[in-house]
């Protein structure tokens, strides 16, 4: 595949750009943050996402979606990132849909229509520790009656309390640290024994600590194969990682553009500060980092869409690089803005907060660089 967007993708980018800029710009994010919204996003906006076709972007056409790939999902995510538009798009329409595509027909029919309509929100209950270590999952699922009984703790469950269903990764066999013996379950939010404690994060998104205390699910709640959840989880995580990387390209680009604009207008010592070479070189270096991130994210998305054997390696590298570059963009952004960059009134700090969350989501740059090393044979 050529590493350029085709005409359809360019059209999608234009419509996503216009839509986010007019319906969900940074002022929209501020409004929901300042009202202390319990969801951290607008359900009305989620419906509008559906009207645009975004919510079903990865759902097959035969099932009512747009049947597109990770490049297209990434195009939408980049605009979400650029505008800090709060929505359950990454968790629901990218990661959860990727899981449901591997589920049986009955489960797909149960959840796809709500996602397509912008009425359903799905959360991912994967993390257990404070760092992303999916192979360390210890949450237990024991056979019970015609189904399973789930017990354990989950952390960093984004949109948990706003969700209709949680995808829970639990251990049906083996011990923490083993990749065999995991199983994914679709668990109703109101299931008996499931409790949540919501916490607002630094970027104003809502995350939940989830306790599963003998939650009973039927056998048909299993997504994929019993004990074979690692392969499904791998797909979900890779979709989420590529998606988070794409969103970081948007966050980093937004912060970078805002900063470059500031360098061209702010005057000190009777000169526009963008005239200073010390800042010019840092700006040019940052631009190179962001361009690199944009390139490897596109490469990872296209390999995912092709089902290429190297997709996993490139997704790991893309999540790492996007994290490093976006982090540089927001740090340089705040520093180059000077005092005003430290104020809540100015937007650049909001980008810094969003970057921090996205870097952590689905594994940080260090975690993924380590995976790159392992996959490269050392």
């Amino acid at each position: 595949m050529a590493m350029t967007l085709n005409d359809d993708q360019i059209m999608l980018r234009e419509s996503a750009k216009d839509f986010m800029a007019s319906e969900a710009p940074v002022t929209h994010f501020r409004k929901y943050r300042d009202m202390g919204c319990k969801d951290g996003f607008s359900h009305g906006l989620w419906k509008q996402f559906a009207e645009m076709g975004f919510t079903g972007i990865l759902i097959p056409e035969a099932e009512g979606g747009m049947g597109m790939g990770h490049i297209e999902a990434g195009i939408v995510l980049e605009e979400i990132g650029r505008n800090l538009s709060p929505s359950p798009f990454l968790t629901t329409s990218v990661a959860a849909v990727e899981a449901l595509k591997l589920a049986d027909k009955a489960m797909r029919e149960r959840w796809f229509p709500g996602i397509l309509a912008g009425e359903t929100v799905i959360a991912l209950a994967i993390e257990e520790g404070i760092k992303h270590r999916p192979e360390k999952i210890a949450c237990k699922a024991e056979r019970s009656g015609n189904g399973f009984k789930l017990s354990g703790q989950k952390q960093f469950v984004i949109h948990g309390t706003s969700s209709d269903m949680l995808i829970v990764a639990a251990r049906t066999a083996g011990a923490a640290g083993e990749t065999d013996g995991l199983t994914l379950f679709a668990v109703d939010k109101d299931a008996a024994g499931l409790s949540m404690e919501a916490a607002r994060l630094v970027d104003s998104a809502m995350a939940a600590h989830v306790t599963l205390d003998g939650v009973h699910v039927d056998a048909d709640a299993v997504i994929g194969e019993v004990d074979g959840g690692w392969s499904v989880l791998g797909k979900v995580l890779d979709a989420g990682r590529a998606g988070a990387a794409a969103e970081m390209v948007g966050v980093g680009s937004g912060a970078m553009d805002m900063t470059f604009e500031y360098l061209k207008t702010r005057k000190q010592f009777d000169r526009v500060i963008g005239e200073f070479q010390a800042l010019q070189h840092r700006a040019a270096h940052l631009y190179g980092e962001m361009e690199g991130a944009r390139s490897i994210v596109l490469k990872a998305q296209s390999l995912l869409d092709e089902g290429h054997a190297k997709a996993e390696l490139y997704v790991a590298a893309a999540k790492a690089k996007a994290g490093i570059a976006c982090n540089l963009a927001v740090r340089e952004g705040v520093q180059m803005h000077g005092g005003i960059g430290m104020t809540d009134e100015y937007d650049i700090g909001l980008y810094m907060k969003r970057d921090r969350s996205l870097n952590e989501f689905f594994g940080d740059a260090y975690y993924h660089a380590d995976r790159v090393a392992t996959m490269n044979g050392y």
Partner: protein, 386 residues
């Protein structure tokens, strides 16, 4: 089968039949590279055969027109040919500054007569070229150069000195920036071509920190250059030079490393397993390396379709050369005391240490990293100021 796929099959069959088996193994060092030229000594009959067969087919310069020694391939076909060569492990049949640098400049600025004459010589590997740009007092500030050509009616008499002339002692001809008007800085330079055997031309190799001497000082003492040996118009050589520098930066930017996407970490896993901090550095390097490959691929795809910014190769040059320096720092660290060996058989004559030192020039030659950042900042980011 599409046209491109049938071309692929055709190219593959031709390579299978014509590329000698000895030319399908990786080049071990500089001596395995074919540079062509009047005085070039082929390492083997296979090396000679491979260059000649490619030249006859137009494959030393596949995308040049047939009239100038090329095969007239489209960019897509050229890419396919390179892919097929890579699959079979074929070495480059001919490396030359004529192909990479002078050729593109002649294609754009040369007269028809010049194109037919010089390009065919380049394509056949008959003439080896060197580049006369930098001077002792004119490095990053190249336009301050002083080498002067005095107008004598039907010829110029050139006096002055160039420096960092790559392989000047091995080259047959030089393409050289010469000042032909002392009153005009930018529009007072001409782009001249002349034979290195012309009376008054002499060269002196410069020994570098690597111990090797790929560069020379080149001296001109009353060198006579006929007027028809100019590319472009008189006093407009800076336009040609700038165009050519773009090509040079593109070429050097491809040097992010010869290892491609293959990690150098796997071969050294025992060392890295004992050195967690070094392993972490290596891992972060691999992320940057994979990134650079994807970046280069995207840049080339955008370049071909005219979507890339005209100054973008400056960014690639900066990123690629800095990456290559980092790669060699890591190779030295992983190699430990063994990599320090300078003169020994087991170190292949100190190849690691010498390569490491050689890469330090990457971010200086063809425009320093600092100049690249200036260009990116001003032309792409449109930052204000002089």
């Amino acid at each position: 089968m599409s046209d491109l796929e049938s071309f692929r099959a055709e190219a593959r069959a031709w390579l299978e039949e014509n590329c000698p088996p000895e030319m399908r193994t990786p080049a071990k060092g500089d001596e395995d590279i074919c540079w062509g030229g009047r005085n070039f000594k082929f390492q083997s009959e296979a090396q000679k055969l491979w260059m000649e067969r490619c030249a006859a087919k137009g494959y030393t310069v596949p995308d040049w027109p047939k009239a100038y020694g090329g095969a007239g391939l489209t960019p897509q076909e050229t890419k396919v040919l390179r892919q097929e060569m890579a699959k079979l492990g074929c070495r480059s049949p001919l490396n030359s500054f004529g192909i990479w640098m002078l050729g593109p400049a002649l294609l754009k600025f040369g007269t028809e007569e010049q194109k037919v004459h010089y390009l065919n010589q380049i394509a056949r590997g008959e003439i080896r070229w060197c580049q006369g740009y930098s001077e002792p007092g004119s490095g990053s500030d190249l336009v301050s150069m002083q080498t002067y050509g005095e107008d004598k009616g039907d010829h110029w008499v050139v006096n002055g000195q160039k420096i960092w002339t790559s392989y000047a002692d091995k080259a047959d001809w030089i393409f050289c920036l010469v000042r032909t008007d002392k009153t005009n800085k930018y529009q007072g330079i001409s782009f001249l071509l002349f034979d290195m055997e012309t009376p008054g031309v002499s060269t002196k190799p410069i020994k570098l920190i690597s111990g090797n001497s790929p560069f020379c000082e080149t001296f001109f003492d009353n060198v006579v250059v006929p007027k028809h040996q100019i590319v472009g118009e008189v006093n407009r050589g800076w336009d040609v030079a700038k165009y050519l520098l773009g090509h040079e930066r593109e070429m050097i930017s491809g040097m992010g490393g010869d290892g491609g996407v293959t990690s150098i970490g796997a071969a050294m896993k025992e060392v890295l397993a004992q050195e967690p901090v070094l392993r972490a550095q290596m891992a972060l390097f691999d992320v940057d390396n994979l990134t650079f490959r994807a970046h280069g691929e995207r840049f080339m795809d955008e370049w071909k379709t005219g979507k890339a910014h005209p100054a973008y190769s400056n960014l690639m040059k900066y990123v690629g050369t800095e990456l290559n320096k980092k790669r060699n720092e890591l190779i030295m660290s992983i190699g430990g005391s063994q990599a320090l060996e300078w003169e020994s058989e087991r170190s292949n004559g100190g190849s690691k240490a010498r390569n490491w030192l050689r890469t330090k020039a990457n971010s200086i030659e063809g425009g320093t990293s600092e100049v690249m950042l200036n260009v990116v900042s001003k032309r792409i980011l449109e930052m204000p100021g002089a």
